[in-house]
Symmetry: C2
Subunit: 147 residues, 2 copies
DNA sequence: ACCACTTGCATAGCCCGCTATACAACTGAT
DNA sequence: ATCAGTTGTATAGCGGGCTATGCAAGTGGT
């Protein structure tokens, strides 16, 4: 029974993700941002005023994780949470001006990081790479529909 | 300036890594293992009695992270730490019997998880996928050698 | 109108990763 | 032999992910 971590998709995925995360962390630190806020910001830059529920659905993040992330974002002045008018449970998330102003530099930082990390691949390989990851993410384990 | 998270290598890498991690977590939970211990165990199953330093070098993990992981492993009865005979600073890490016995089921769990998540890929795609991730991991950002 | 159920969010507690810092043990140059 | 520098670990403190749990606000069936 042989097993090499450097042939294991799971191990490699984790390793690669840590590398990307460290790179992006360094690039957006000057902006006062951290990686965990990035996905939420991307959605909110697109459509402001989403509820927490909508954010978790769009990002495949657990509700509790999102609640914590939003709490940090509020603490850091990136968002404000306002009760929804029609549903007293829901909180709508609104970007502050400073968060809106961070959009362009933050996205530029992410694009630079991606470009640098993929610099060793040909254009064709880059496309394949993205497509393969998307395919893996979409692959649902059997039995998910049960119960 | 458009930016789609579903076309961003960094975002996809993170997402995929979380999926793998959740799957493996569930599979090895019955064994009393967690994902963070896995890389260390793989090295120790191969060569027992490594120092902490050697482990961090082999795994591209920060020293502090490894120290914490080893502390948990010791707490959970997977390893014992013994002072090196020749160097009073170094701690050699030795597997317990129970950790040795977990090797086969743990590796089987990882292989099953990998196989399931890659089930949507052809054999050729799997090879490409692994090779591309390895290539991205190996790509060093420019300027690393400076200073 | 009530009550059971569902839904949206917050909190507690843990694992795992990081940076920054401290400190004891070794090493080398003098 | 000493002392400055290096090296191996540990610790503090944080971000970010997860599960489990609790609770207030909505909803539907009677």
């Amino acid at each position: 029974m042989t097993f090499s971590k450097d042939q294991s998709a799971g191990y490699l995925a984790n390793h690669m993700a840590r590398i990307f995360a460290q790179g992006l962390t360094a690039r957006i630190k000057p902006l006062g941002l951290t990686t965990g806020t990035f996905p939420a910001l991307l959605e909110l830059w697109e459509t402001d005023g989403l509820t927490q529920k909508q954010l978790t659905e769009r990002l495949d993040i657990e509700q509790a994780t999102m609640a914590n992330t939003l709490a940090r974002m509020e603490r850091d002045g990136l968002i404000v949470r306002k009760k929804d008018a029609n549903d007293g449970r829901a909180q709508r998330i609104w970007l502050t001006d400073s968060a809106r102003n961070l959009r362009d530099p933050a996205i530029a930082a992410a694009q630079e990081e991606n470009a640098m990390r993929l610099a060793g691949l040909t254009e064709d390989e880059k496309r394949q790479f993205i497509a393969l990851i998307q395919k893996v993410i979409k692959t649902k384990p059997p039995g998910t529909a049960r119960r």
